[in-house]
């Protein structure tokens, strides 16, 4: 990413050359194919990522089910909380389309925040905007969840589906093969929403 591309993003139009160069050089470009995980919930994260192009879906995941919280686009930060916090992110993120991000390590965020120029304000402000966006979207989902939990003592899997959760992993059907199929060759497809893409396969152990 360069300064011109940075200026094309919402919230960064008025960034100066020096500020933009400082930010771009502090981070590294990352390309993510559609369907791939950008951030995995509960796993260590190096820092926030600024979306340069593409769309990323923030997911709330429990076991094999996921809830699409919000879709982030260019100018938004993925995992904004990781800029200030070492704990693993609680929400995952998956690319909906081919995505390019600027990954900013936490140490660089700290360094940029102490710089006297306006980049510190822009950086924290855009991080706050993304965090607010995620928090507001999660609040929209949390309300019916808490309401349902309040009305009904024990929820079922059907209730979760009704509340917007979807199954993320779908085991494949056993493919009839001549002579049978050894168990080690069985695979499961990591399911995803949207257009058909190359699926990820992993053996079932």
């Amino acid at each position: 990413m360069n300064v011109q591309q940075l200026r094309a993003l919402p919230g960064w139009q008025r960034v100066t050359d020096a500020e933009g160069t400082g930010l771009v050089q502090a981070g590294g470009d990352r390309w993510i194919r559609a369907g791939q995980a950008v951030v995995e919930a509960g796993k260590p994260c190096v820092g926030p990522q600024l979306i340069a192009s593409g769309e990323v879906q923030v997911l709330f995941e429990v076991a094999d089910m996921g809830l699409a919280v919000v879709v982030l686009g260019p100018g938004d930060w993925i995992a904004p909380e990781s800029a200030f916090d070492n704990t693993p992110p609680i929400l995952g993120a998956r690319a909906l389309s081919d995505t390019r991000t600027l990954a900013l390590p936490r140490e660089q965020v700290e360094r940029l925040r102490t710089m006297p120029q306006g980049v510190a304000v822009r950086l924290t402000r855009t991080l706050l905007q993304s965090q607010s966006k995620i928090a507001a979207a999660l609040g929209e989902h949390a309300a019916p969840w808490l309401q349902r939990a309040h009305d009904k003592r024990q929820l079922s899997r059907a209730d979760l589906t009704d509340l917007g959760m979807q199954r993320l992993v779908q085991p494949t059907q056993a493919v009839p093969m001549a002579g049978g199929q050894p168990a080690s060759k069985q695979v499961e497809i990591i399911g995803h929403e949207g257009p058909a893409i190359a699926a990820n396969f992993r053996p079932i152990r």
Binding site: F60, V62, A83, V121, L128, S132, A142, L146, L155, R157
Partner: protein
């Protein structure tokens, strides 16, 4: 005996670079010793006041401030790299204190709440010390920064149930909880659901800081709550003058928001785990210990020891 929370007299605390604002006594005319108790300012309920303030973000005109009578420079202090020039104006502050509270009340009435704006905020007040320390818990702010922030705040008192921010309403005023409790509520079909508690130092109305036009949450007073209200325009001006402080403030607000998101996510995780029949993680068992010498003696006497 001197009240420790009462500001020092002007003679005891001359205005210097280390005190960006004159003490409150200096900005107000002396009151008679047995002055009649003034009723609190009336709640402003009209949408547009006589000064012509409107609720549309960005269209709020600034009050014309009187000519300055004095000013001083803080750049010699060494803590400000941006060449901060704090303006401590005797008449300016005296009239601004009235104008600002009126503006906050008008903005609040048009935007979200109808609380009582009752006083200015001074950084040496007990609740202000506590609130600002809690807000800047990660990176403590300097005295100058806190004084500047306090100068744009107005003290406001709300009763239980009164709203600080209403989702979808224009974000004109942000609040820092000084004392008491507020509650973030999620809109529901039947009744509002409490999502998170806000206590001293918590920020309500992050949209004002992030630049969004409307509030994203409903926040109501859960008890008698005192808040420091600051207007969007004043905050933006402060951010331009003190970008480092604005960055610290935004960081604090991000962390508070992150804490609430974590809380909500944990609640949802528990609900989902219960629904899916997943066993909750058992608490860690206490590690074995040989115990104290008295404990070992007691066990030996009672015959329970090994």
């Amino acid at each position: 005996m001197r009240d420790p929370f009462r500001p020092a007299t002007p003679a005891a605390r001359p205005i210097t670079g280390s005190h960006p604002l004159p003490p409150p006594d200096q900005t107000r005319p002396p009151e008679p010793e047995h002055a009649p108790v003034r009723p609190p300012p009336p709640m402003v309920r009209h949408r547009e006041n006589s000064s012509g303030f409107s609720a549309v973000p960005g269209s709020q005109p600034h009050l014309r401030r009187p000519e300055s009578s004095a000013s001083f420079d803080l750049t010699g202090r060494g803590s400000s790299s941006t060449g901060l020039r704090a303006e401590a104006r005797h008449g300016w502050l005296g009239t601004t204190s009235i104008s600002r509270t009126t503006r906050v009340a008008a903005s609040s009435a048009s935007g979200s709440n109808s609380g009582v704006v009752d006083a200015n905020v001074y950084p040496h007040q007990a609740d202000a010390i506590q609130a600002f320390a809690a807000l800047f818990v990660r990176e403590p702010a300097s005295e100058v920064e806190i004084a500047q922030l306090a100068a744009i705040c107005s003290r406001m008192t709300l009763s239980p149930g009164q709203a600080l921010t209403v989702k979808g309403q224009p974000a004109l005023v942000a609040y820092i909880v000084a004392s008491g409790f507020a509650r973030m509520e999620l809109a529901s079909d039947d009744h509002p659901l409490g999502a998170a508690a806000l206590r001293a130092g918590d920020w309500a109305g992050e949209a004002v800081l992030s630049g969004d036009e409307c509030h994203a949450h409903n926040i109501v007073a859960a008890s008698d709550v005192v808040v420091f209200a600051c207007e969007r325009d004043d905050l933006l001006n402060l951010a331009q003058r003190m970008p480092q402080m604005a960055a610290r403030m935004a960081t604090a607000v991000v962390e508070q928001s992150m804490r609430r998101v974590r809380l909500q996510t944990n609640k949802m995780t528990h609900i989902a785990q219960a629904a899916l029949g997943l066993a909750a993680v058992p608490p860690a068992e206490p590690t074995s210990s040989e115990g104290s010498s008295i404990g070992r003696l007691f066990s030996k006497l009672t015959g329970k020891g090994a």
